[in-house]
Symmetry: C2
Subunit: 370 residues, 2 copies
């Protein structure tokens, strides 16, 4: 679509197709000149980048407007840096931050990620690790924490299943496109995550998994979440790269110990002994680190629940006040629910975080009735 007029939003999405994730030189170009000008410079051969020919060729193959249509056709969306759903904590990645993310699922990415924990681990997991992954993910999810993992075989799969089993919110950050079922054995699981949670990727639709993308994906998992919990990991494995990315971002890393006779706990033990990871022996060790004591105690007394089961009376009233079709302004909601403006606003934020409501036009709309 060379020659067509584009805005910054389209240019970011365009660049997200052309640039390799975490390429800091392209990131710096966009930071300095904006995405529209960066695209123009690459097209005109004056970006100064070493791999300009490759970038130019990839830009020529992509029409960002068609990419938006293609995503919409699959029920997905492209969330870009300047959009409302952008998780602003990704800005901490600096020039390595993504330009856009592909998202599949109803919940609001930014709001659900505000209260999120990464739980990751080895593909070649043990039954011990899988049991811990499942139990801890359930515990986090049932206390209204979004549980983020990578969808891989082994620990990641057990993490997503545990969160789903307790009716909580889980997000899978993929290394390939959100429409590419990888690993194949997790096709059903990924569908369930798209239905009840979110699939997220920095890779465009249809993009197959490439080795390098696992490492850049791991930095995203670390950057999106408040803390990273490592359940099982071999020494010097991909999992420890997620932990190292979290350390680099000053996010807490917690590692779960296991038998010293298990090679799949060796990476966790090394993280504790050598990388300053905290030893976590129960979900409460993680939650006490992230939450003030009072709120943890309150959360603990709640039973595990689906997102809409755990709503307060006020949140439920605002949810009821939303029309079945179309949207309502905050002023209308204040009137219908019979509540004050700050209460309604607070309730809407929680409803959005749970994927039950979302901003629409100048008001709010319901995402789906359970």
């Amino acid at each position: 679509m060379s020659g067509a007029v584009i805005d910054e939003r389209l240019a970011l999405i365009w660049m997200a197709h052309a640039a390799e994730p975490a390429d800091r030189r392209v990131g710096a170009l966009v930071r300095e000149h904006g995405a529209v000008e960066a695209v123009a410079r690459i097209q005109a051969g004056r970006s100064g980048l070493a791999d300009e020919p490759g970038l130019r060729a990839r830009l020529a193959h992509v029409d960002p407007r068609r990419a938006l249509e293609q995503a919409a056709g699959l029920g997905a969306r492209i969330v870009h840096r300047d959009g409302k759903e952008w998780p602003t904590q990704l800005d901490q990645l600096g020039d390595a931050a993504p330009f856009a993310l592909w998202v599949l699922g109803a919940a609001d990415l930014r709001l659900t990620m505000l209260r999120s924990i990464a739980v990751v681990g080895a593909r070649a997991s043990t039954s011990y690790g899988e049991a811990v992954a499942r139990d801890w993910a359930s515990a986090f999810a049932s206390q209204s924490w979004t549980v983020v993992s990578g969808g891989a075989l082994g620990i990641d799969g057990a993490v997503h299943r545990g969160a789903l089993a307790s009716g909580g919110m889980t997000i899978c950050v993929l290394a390939g496109g959100v429409d590419v079922a990888y690993p194949r054995a997790h096709e059903q699981l990924l569908h369930r995550i798209a239905d009840d949670g979110l699939l997220v990727s920095e890779s465009p639709l249809g993009e197959c998994v490439r080795r390098r993308r696992f490492l850049t994906r791991n930095r995203l998992i670390a950057a999106l979440t408040r803390a990273t919990v490592v359940i099982e990991a071999a020494l010097r494995s991909g999992t420890t790269s997620t932990a190292n990315a979290a350390v680099a971002l000053n996010r807490p890393v917690l590692a779960v110990p296991g038998p010293v006779t298990s090679p799949m706990s060796a990476g966790c033990h090394a993280l504790i002994r050598e990388s300053g990871a905290l030893l976590a022996s129960a979900p409460s060790d993680v939650l006490e680190l992230l939450e003030p004591l009072g709120s943890t105690m309150e959360a603990r007394s709640r039973a595990p629940s689906r997102p809409h089961d755990a709503l307060t009376e006020q949140q439920a009233r605002v949810l009821d006040a939303l029309p079945a079709r179309g949207s309502s302004s905050t002023a209308e909601l204040v009137r219908v629910a019979g509540m004050a403006v700050p209460e309604v606003t607070a309730a809407l934020a929680i409803l959005a975080a749970r994927g039950l409501a979302r901003p629409a036009g100048r008001g709010w709309e319901i995402v789906g009735r359970a």
Copy 2:
């Protein structure tokens, strides 16, 4: 034996019978006035101690000369604070240091304890903990470290067995008298330790195990050794008291992680998370902390061995030079072995540390031919 003339050595042994272990007030009295004068003051009712009547009554029941004879009759000995075999690291306990120790076994207590590691753990151990205890004790013992534990059921027993199996030196610090087989189930094991290693206690012969003595015994294990390794421990258990005693003495504490689902690893995890214990996932984690890298590498290349198998050629020559009966001066050994004085002196220290030779009169004698 009131009225009899006694020397400081006898007075210390006498006091070791009368005072409760780790009684700092009696310790302060002896530090200020010496043991002879402390005994005299207690007998005369002018010690100023609150429990003076009890101390006086217990002194009246003991004849320290007969205690020495009684020990010799059992093949045991009483090592007092001013003696050559005293492990001077116990002085770090200050006024809580013992006055004397009962010792059963051939090796020199001070020399064997110079290079010693405490390895302790729960009585209600798991098969995982017992396997780690056995393997690690073997690893330490086969690298010429004296392995010290408490002789209890569970982890302690596995520790002693592991050290014995690799032909190494192991020392059991008992809460009761060295002639009291406690626990009964370890009677055979304790005999083996007395044969190949040492039984040590602060309690006089015949003294039965009392609850309080376990805690005071634990401080001895921590104070005698260079580091304390905790294999398995429940939360707030006797084992963690040994670890806390080691921390108080600035000795390194290392804890072995295990499954977070095991209550017997919970104490270890708490020590790492809350008490600054180091996570140890292999024997090398302990040895690298205690030894300069070079010496560890050298030690690692040695095969597991009985004390006298691991002797260097020079040490073996000095051992051969010792007469079968009676003793030899260092000068005679230099002549017979055909070695220099510093070489002979160094060899004698190692032979003593392995329980193969000991000082006798103004020279050295052999302890036993294998």
